[in-house]
């Protein structure tokens, strides 16, 4: 009986499709696997979608951090043995996210404070998504892919932000001053006045219900127009 070398055992545990065997996974399954994981990776970020301003601010950060992390990681990969790809990506993304936190505290103090733990959580999402990606793509392809993922996250957050703030508070762009500075105070739109608001929309379950509705709409459009999906 042979004891597997450390390298083999780590490769065997890898969730990276195609890493454990030489056979590429079936494309359809790969796509489903990837999008499910993306959806799961999005879930912890839903907490910052209760107002438009928070969603906008957070999306901007995601749009910067995600491609930057991909660039750094793909540049580094050539020096990384397989066994340390995961810890190295954790280190790099954690470093990037820490820098982003410092940046928020220095220049967008109040908005950054409202992100709480969810900004550091972005590091986990990046590592997960980076880890499931096929390794043998060029740097350009990886970059385009990460921009697309970041855009997807950003658009989802902003759409949810609009819906939840409108339903939950009857306003749009409340607290805009935390993102745009003092002139942002005039940006808030009071669509209708509510005493308590529709609470469910503001609470975390509201985020999941809104996301479910969003996915339902997407699926409905896709089912009406099967060729364009």
């Amino acid at each position: 009986m042979s004891v597997p070398s450390p390298n083999e055992s780590i490769e065997g545990l890898s969730v990276r499709p195609g890493a454990a065997s030489n056979l590429p996974p079936p494309p359809a399954r790969h796509r489903a696997f990837g999008s499910t994981l993306q959806l799961l990776a999005l879930c912890p970020l839903l907490a910052v979608s209760d107002t438009v301003v928070k969603a906008l601010g957070f999306s901007t950060l995601v749009l910067v951090i995600f491609p930057l992390a991909t660039l750094l990681l793909s540049a580094l990969r050539r020096w990384l043995a397989d066994s340390i790809v995961l810890p190295a990506s954790l280190l790099v993304t954690a470093g990037l996210v820490t820098a982003a936190e410092l940046f928020m505290r220095a220049w967008f103090h109040d908005l950054g404070a409202s992100f709480g733990v969810f900004l550091p959580l972005v590091a986990v999402n990046i590592v997960v998504i980076d880890h499931i990606q096929a390794r043998d793509v060029s740097r350009g392809t990886a970059l385009i892919r990460s921009v697309r993922i970041a855009l997807g996250i950003a658009l989802t957050l902003i759409a949810l932000g609009f819906a939840r703030e409108l339903v939950g508070r009857g306003s749009l762009l409340s607290g805009a001053a935390t993102l745009f500075g003092n002139w942002g105070e005039h940006l808030e739109i009071k669509v209708f006045s509510v005493d308590m608001g529709f609470l469910l929309a503001m609470l975390p379950p509201g985020a999941f219900i809104s996301l479910g509705l969003l996915i339902a709409v997407r699926n409905w459009i896709a089912s009406r127009n099967p060729t364009a999906s």
């Binding site: 070398s5 450390p6 390298n7 209760d50 580094l76 020096w79 990384l80 043995a81 066994s83 340390i84 810890p87 190295a88 280190l91 790099v92 470093g95 820490t98 820098a99 410092l102 940046f103 505290r105 220095a106 220049w107 103090h109 109040d110 939950g168 005493d195 308590m196 608001g197 609470l199 503001m202 609470l203």
Partner: protein, 212 residues
């Protein structure tokens, strides 16, 4: 028994990781140094806004953000860490002390307060400076019941008497918000305990580390 080949196999990746960690550390320390002053200033501005809402800046002539002291009283002030007290004086005479106690039993975690007290133990006011209460219910003091925190102004340990220093539901004098009892109960309790701490420590609060 590890062979020399195995050792190399471990040594090289370890060194790579160490280099990455070192580069990141240097980068982050540099960035942290660059932003430190700005972040400290932001926090001062933030606490000053809350302070100004409680004590009119014209009523004192020192800088309460510099004239601070730290006190420890986990039972009364709700935190196992030192609590900051900002001192306000006019011509060296005490005007007010603002403490930053914690209400540890909020509905969703601790509620950080700023409690300003005039000499003699009368409340100048209470501000909630950080909380995780349920949006729309427990955070009513921020919008729906915006006047609620204002009701503390002018109260003291004897007004109302101690057994009425709680929410109405518990037989006290304080209203709760619609749909939330735990949050107001926690805040009222924390304010009362802060007053109790103040009563036993008034002299110390003004004297400790007093700038000459």
């Amino acid at each position: 028994m590890a062979t020399p080949a195995d050792k190399r196999h471990i040594a090289a990746p370890t060194a790579t990781l160490a280099i990455i960690a070192a580069v990141l550390t240097v980068g982050l320390v540099t960035f942290a140094n660059l932003t430190r002053d700005r972040i400290a200033r932001n926090q001062q501005v933030w606490i000053k806004q809350h302070l100004d809402a409680l004590v009119p800046p014209k009523s004192y002539d020192n800088d309460p953000l510099v004239d601070i002291t730290e006190v420890m009283a986990p039972d009364l002030l709700g935190a196992a860490t030192p609590i900051i007290a900002y001192r306000m004086r006019k011509a060296g005479l005490p005007v007010a002390v603002a403490l930053r106690p914690v209400a540890p039993d909020g509905y969703r975690g601790p509620i950080e307060l700023l409690v300003a007290i005039a000499p003699g133990g009368q409340l100048l006011g209470v501000q909630v400076i950080r909380h995780n209460e349920t949006p729309g219910l427990g955070d009513a003091f921020e919008n729906r019941d915006a006047g609620w925190l204002g009701e503390f102004r002018g109260l003291s340990l004897t007004k109302p008497p101690q057994q009425r220093w709680t929410v109405r539901r518990d037989g006290g004098d304080f209203d709760a918000f619609t749909g939330a009892t735990i949050t107001p109960r926690a805040i009222v309790k924390a304010v009362r305990r802060t007053l109790e701490f103040y009563q036993g420590n008034e002299d110390r609060l003004y004297q400790d580390g007093k700038p000459q």
